[in-house]
């Protein structure tokens, strides 16, 4: 069934803003401010990230106007490079959603801790100490809601956020703007910090492309989608820059702590305790909204790849009674819970950024390829300053991706390793599917049989006292029983019947 095109320009801009106004602003500025050690540098980093995002959005505008159908980036890359590269881009996009959802869950907990610091201080340390556990519980709760098919509020909160931010900025101006002459670290000396910070704050602006995903619902998409993207960028970039500039005027980098998030603390200083509490509530709402969206996005990516035959068909299964894709939701939610339990905000910030940066690079490459190979394709919007814009749009994400790793930023290195590990897992799934199930089942049977025999042998040797016991708290009989299950399971898999 074809999607109805019923959204005008205003609704399109609202869709872009609802994607861009997210929880990221409440969490990603903290580490950046500590890294750059200056309000001016922080503002510069935000301007840089916003402008780079705008350049990349030009490519999105051209491609979304030329192909205004469901699928967004996946469709553009598939048209340019075919299925396999599109599959890899889908993997990166899925990873970004997974890491983004985990970050949203942790942000919710941190904002809740700050809220408690104002309304019930005795609970703050408890919430902070149990951040991983609470984050996992929130993800589990939202996954259950997703399976039940409960819809979230969505763009309804856009106006509320714009109003809160506007009040904050105006109050800040009345409170007194920061002294722009004071910068603890000269900009050139802190250049590496500027690059690392730009990567780190990049996800703040990612949400704008939500509009691209919804292009299929937009009336007259050739005009409204590019206009919507540009208008939302022109609203959101100055807004966030003003927000960061105002906040840095009242809070020093040293004052930013997990117990005192940057924006909340600034709001508390400017507007009093109720201001801090208001920002905490706003942060919690934004985090929950983003968490719901990310869980839905990741399941839709998994289903899309499954539909195209890249992932097991089981991911397409819909619950008989509730009509929701419960297997895809549960599969992704387990990963989100795992990363939420880590509770490392900086790592998740980089990881969410890396997946999207790679997709951005691929989208710009797709534009270059399509311009060359399909010059007569209908393009209602053309990227200005071609070919420089898509070339910059390709080089900058790759440079931003590589730079923090070369600088040895530990969290960035960990994020790259984790992303590559998960990508390897998904690619392995892809190749294993190509091998065929029967051959794979025999191979797994062999591995299981070997694992069972090894466990039985090690347990026997440990019982004889020839080697030390690895699991002294588990009875030998239990270990023997497990090894027998492995051995029989392995044999059954080896002698599988068609």
């Amino acid at each position: 069934m074809e999607t109805k095109r019923e959204l005008g320009l205003f609704s399109t801009v609202m869709m872009g803003l609802s994607g861009a106004i997210g929880f990221e602003i409440f969490v990603l500025l903290d580490y950046t401010y500590r890294l750059t050690e200056s309000g001016i540098t922080l503002t510069l980093v935000l301007v840089l990230a916003g402008l780079l995002n705008l350049i990349i959005m030009f490519s999105y505008c051209e491609l979304s106007a030329a192909m205004p159908e469901v699928g967004g980036e996946y469709t553009y890359i598939k048209t340019a490079y075919g299925g396999y590269i599109a599959f890899i881009s889908g993997c990166f996009r899925w990873l970004a959603s997974i890491f983004g959802a985990a970050l949203a869950a942790i942000t919710f907990t941190l904002q809740m801790a700050y809220f408690f610091s104002i309304v019930a201080p005795q609970f703050q340390s408890l919430v902070l100490a149990q951040t991983p556990l609470i984050s996992v519980a929130v993800v589990a709760f939202f996954a259950a809601l997703d399976i039940k098919g409960v819809k979230q509020a969505g763009s309804m909160i856009v106006f509320a956020f714009l109003a809160i931010f506007a009040v904050f900025i105006v109050s800040g101006i009345l409170h007194g703007l920061p002294n722009i002459g004071v910068s603890p670290k000269p900009l050139l000396e802190n250049l590496s910090g500027v690059f690392a910070s730009t990567v780190y704050v990049f996800p703040i602006f990612f949400g704008m492309r939500a509009l691209v995903a919804g292009a299929a619902m937009v009336k007259n998409p050739e005009k409204n989608v590019p206009r919507g993207i540009l208008l939302s960028a022109l609203i959101i970039i100055p807004l966030y820059v003003c927000l960061a500039f105002t906040a840095s005027g009242v809070v020093s980098p040293e004052e930013v702590q997990p117990s005192a998030p940057f924006l909340n603390f600034a709001a508390q200083k400017i507007m009093g305790e109720w201001g801090g509490a208001l920002f905490a509530v706003a942060g919690m709402v934004a985090s929950l909204s983003a968490l719901g969206t990310s869980l839905a996005v990741q399941s839709s990516i998994l289903r899309g790849m499954s539909r195209d035959g890249y992932l097991p068909k089981a991911l397409l299964s819909v619950h008989k009674r509730l009509g929701t894709p419960y297997i895809a939701i549960v599969a992704g939610s387990l990963f989100v819970m795992f990363f939420s339990a880590m509770g490392v905000v900086v790592f998740l910030g980089y990881a969410a950024s890396f997946g999207s940066l790679l997709v951005f690079a691929l989208v710009n490459l797709s534009l270059l390829k399509l311009r060359k190979e399909k010059p007569h394709m209908e393009r209602p919007f053309k990227t200005p300053l071609y070919p420089f814009t898509p070339i910059i749009g390709f080089i900058v994400p790759i440079a931003l991706l590589v730079f923090p790793v070369l600088l040895g930023e530990t969290n960035a290195v960990n994020a790259v390793i984790s992303s590559l590990g998960l990508t390897a897992l998904v690619l392995t799934t892809y190749y294993l599917r190509m091998v065929g199930r029967r051959r794979l089942q025999i191979a797994v049977g062999g591995i299981g049989l070997g694992a069972g025999v090894s466990l039985a042998l090690l347990t026997f040797l440990a019982r004889l006292g020839l080697i030390s016991q690895m699991f002294p708290y588990v009875s030998d009989y239990v270990l023997f029983l497990i090894s027998i299950v492995f051995i029989i399971g392995g044999i059954l898999n080896i002698f599988t019947q068609d």
């Binding site: 089942q441 797994v444 591995i447 466990l455 492995f486 399971g489 599988t496």
Partner: protein
């Protein structure tokens, strides 16, 4: 044929159960929930060995169990 179906189903479930237990245990061990590392007297230097062994056995068991369950499901 019928007995094979029953055996496949039972061992598929057993392996999946062992897999889930091992994976959950690995997570609890890694994140040190409930101070489990101290409770089980696991030295920090051996922690990653324990994690590798439990996660490897967990995933082998999971994949093997899922294959058996799929076979059982198709023969219903």
């Amino acid at each position: 044929m019928r007995s094979r179906k029953t055996v496949v189903g039972i061992f598929g479930m057993l392996q999946s159960f062992i897999a889930l237990t091992l994976i959950i245990f690995t997570c609890i061990l890694y994140f040190n929930f409930f101070d489990v590392q101290t409770f089980l007297n696991i030295a920090t230097s051996y922690l990653y060995l324990y994690l590798t062994v439990t996660i490897a056995y967990g995933f082998i068991s999971l994949i093997s169990g899922v294959f058996l369950l799929l076979e059982w499901w198709e023969k219903r």
